[in-house]
């Protein structure tokens, strides 16, 4: 579904991405991990069209979307959440989801008919708050709303940048179950960034480990943890998260 090939990006003197490649199939949950500043968010932003890579290509379902801008990528089927929550705070919870669904109705009407705003709200335990302003929700609910909103786009690819950050263990578990539900119901490719390795290991089929802008390992979750370079990066980083 998604294939990222040799994407590089430099900010001033900082090489945030050095020829990073990865791929993610439909229905797959890929964990993207690595220490702070490894380039994970930058990679997600390059895929979502927010950043134009200096080199390399991003293809979604065979279509080139490299550097096409966030609006175009969203219409092409990239749904995302942000590392720092970005909701439409004065709009109601329902309106937040509705806004995404409008786009879906215009670009993928068949998918939109299947999704249904009310169903999404119920799935993410937001139906009790449908008519309150999104900014008044608790932190955990805001995180869930951001995911529900991204899903209302009917995405082919879902990018979740630290969805479990700031959640307690129970909330993380609920979230993990919900994300598995997405795979089952929507079947989109999903990339999850998080520093909570327990959350990542429990959820992901495959891992992709980044360090200093490079992808240093990728593969099945258990295999990756046997990779010496991954161990090196994570040793000394005792108890990440």
């Amino acid at each position: 579904m998604l294939s990222v090939e040799a994407v590089s990006k430099t900010f001033g003197g900082v090489q945030a991405l050095r020829s990073a490649s990865l791929s993610c199939a439909a229905g797959e949950i890929l964990g993207l991990i690595g220490p702070n500043g490894a380039g994970k968010s930058t990679l997600v932003n390059a895929i979502a069209g927010v950043l134009k890579p200096d080199a390399g290509s991003v293809k979604l379902a065979g279509n080139e979307i490299t550097g096409h801008g966030p609006e175009h990528c969203a219409r092409a089927g990239v749904g995302r959440t942000f590392q720092t929550i970005r909701l439409f705070r004065d709009l109601t919870v329902r309106q937040n989801v509705e806004v995404a669904h409008i786009t879906c109705r215009s670009v993928r009407p068949d998918v939109a008919a299947r999704i249904g705003v009310d169903r999404l709200l119920a799935q993410y335990q937001l139906d009790g708050f449908a008519d309150v302003p999104a900014g008044t929700l608790s932190y955990g609910s805001q995180r869930r709303l951001e995911i529900a909103r991204a899903l209302a786009l009917g995405p082919l690819l879902l990018l979740l940048d630290e969805p479990a950050a700031g959640l307690n263990e129970d909330e993380s578990e609920t979230l993990a179950v919900a994300i598995e539900g997405i795979r089952r119901d929507v079947g989109c490719a999903t990339i999850v960034i998080d520093h909570d390795l327990r959350f990542i290991n429990r959820l992901c089929d495959r891992l992709c480990v980044m360090d200093q802008g490079q992808v240093i390992a990728s593969g099945q979750t258990e295999e990756v943890w046997r990779d010496p370079r991954v161990i090196e990066v994570y040793v000394g980083q005792s108890e990440t998260s």
């Binding site: 942000f82 806004v99 249904g116 991204a150």
Partner: protein, 353 residues
């Protein structure tokens, strides 16, 4: 997977709801208008006509500012263009011989009926709005506001200096007085409903979303520029309509009517009432119009219980400033806040049940 029936039925339901909402919001305006029409002395009718023009301007302003959250300091350029448009097109030839005998493009010898003149004036407003909107919609925040201000100044200088066509800073008189209170009320309702329909439409919702988080809106495929342009043009057309109605009831216009004083008054009304809602626009106009008229009446000195109060010239300006400062300090979202009148009523009745 369960089919969601709601999605096929809701659009019509939503349309009906915002239509009803718009009508409920215009109810106070209608009632006020009817009272004045039937009971008030002529002096108040004249004042009310002015207030209705302000109302339409403020509702127009809300369409852009309330949804895009960008301050607009140029809207009275469109009011002025609407007014001058019908003045130039519909003024009787005998009058034109006196006022603009040297008008270019054959305008000196052209006399159209009021309706055609109004439509052509709106067309002119639409064209100016499209051109200026192309620039403004690419910008956001302060930059867009500055450009709107520049537009005001440019249009004002053209009114002042192209004397063959606009008669400069002298009053342009002799415009047919074809609009009275009933027309003004009808148009106010139309405009209020239109503003509400826009706000609740997909475009309105997407534009409000993009104003709150441009990044998130872009990530949902929303083209904020195009939406800003749409709301800018609609806002301008409503302001242009206000100008047309003004010209048709007053019969006389001059450039200074459509300059900073109008910008300041109408902005104050919108901000005081609350720019997030159409209800806020209506509320602000009612409160400030009534309030300012009351202050004006005591400005000239009144007698209360036999005590003659001194003249308080300039009081209205001071009061306006004070009210705005207090409002910004204690209720920055304006009197009506985030809910429309119909939403407030339905919340109230739901709670009372």
């Amino acid at each position: 997977m369960s089919q969601a029936i709601e999605d096929t039925t809701r659009p019509n339901g939503a349309l009906a709801r915002s239509l009803v909402g718009g009508l409920v919001t215009s109810l106070p305006v209608l009632v006020g208008g009817l009272l004045i029409l039937n009971f008030a002395p002529t002096y108040y009718t004249f004042l009310a006509l002015g207030a209705f023009v302000n109302l339409i301007v403020v509702v127009g302003l809300q369409v852009f500012m309330g949804n895009s959250n960008i301050a607009n300091l140029g809207h009275s350029a469109f009011v002025g263009l609407g007014a001058y448009g019908v003045a130039i097109l519909s003024t009787p030839l005998a009058m034109k011989k006196l006022s603009i005998p040297n008008a270019p493009f054959g305008f000196a010898t052209l006399e159209l009926d009021p309706v055609s003149s109004a439509l052509l004036a709106l067309l002119a407003v639409g064209i100016l709005a499209l051109v200026s909107g192309k620039v403004i919609s690419r910008l956001s925040g302060v930059a867009a506001t500055i450009v709107s201000l520049a537009l005001l100044i440019i249009v004002h200088s053209v009114f002042l200096n192209w004397t063959d066509l606009f008669k400069g800073n002298q009053a342009f008189f002799g415009i047919p007085k074809v609009v009275g209170l009933p027309w003004m009320m009808a148009m106010s309702v139309v405009v209020i409903v239109l503003a509400r329909l826009f706000k609740d439409s997909h475009w309105g919702l997407q534009l409000r979303a993009s104003a709150q988080s441009p990044q998130a809106a872009a990530a949902l495929g929303i083209d904020a520029r195009r939406l800003r342009l749409v709301s800018w043009v609609l806002s301008a057309l409503i302001c242009g309509l206000a100008g047309i109605l003004y010209a048709y009831f007053a019969g006389t216009i001059s450039p200074k009517l459509f300059y900073f004083q109008m910008i300041f008054n109408t902005l104050a009304m919108l901000i005081l009432g609350g720019m997030a809602t159409v209800t806020g626009a209506v509320t602000g106009v009612i409160v400030l119009s009534v309030g300012l008229e009351f202050i004006r009446s005591i400005e000239s000195g009144v007698t209360i219980a036999g005590i003659q109060l001194p003249q308080l010239l300039g009081l209205s300006g001071v009061a306006l400033g004070v009210v705005i400062v207090l409002c910004m300090a204690f209720r920055p979202s304006g009197i009506s806040g985030r809910y429309e009148l119909d939403e407030l009523l339905s919340r109230f009745f739901r709670r009372a049940k």
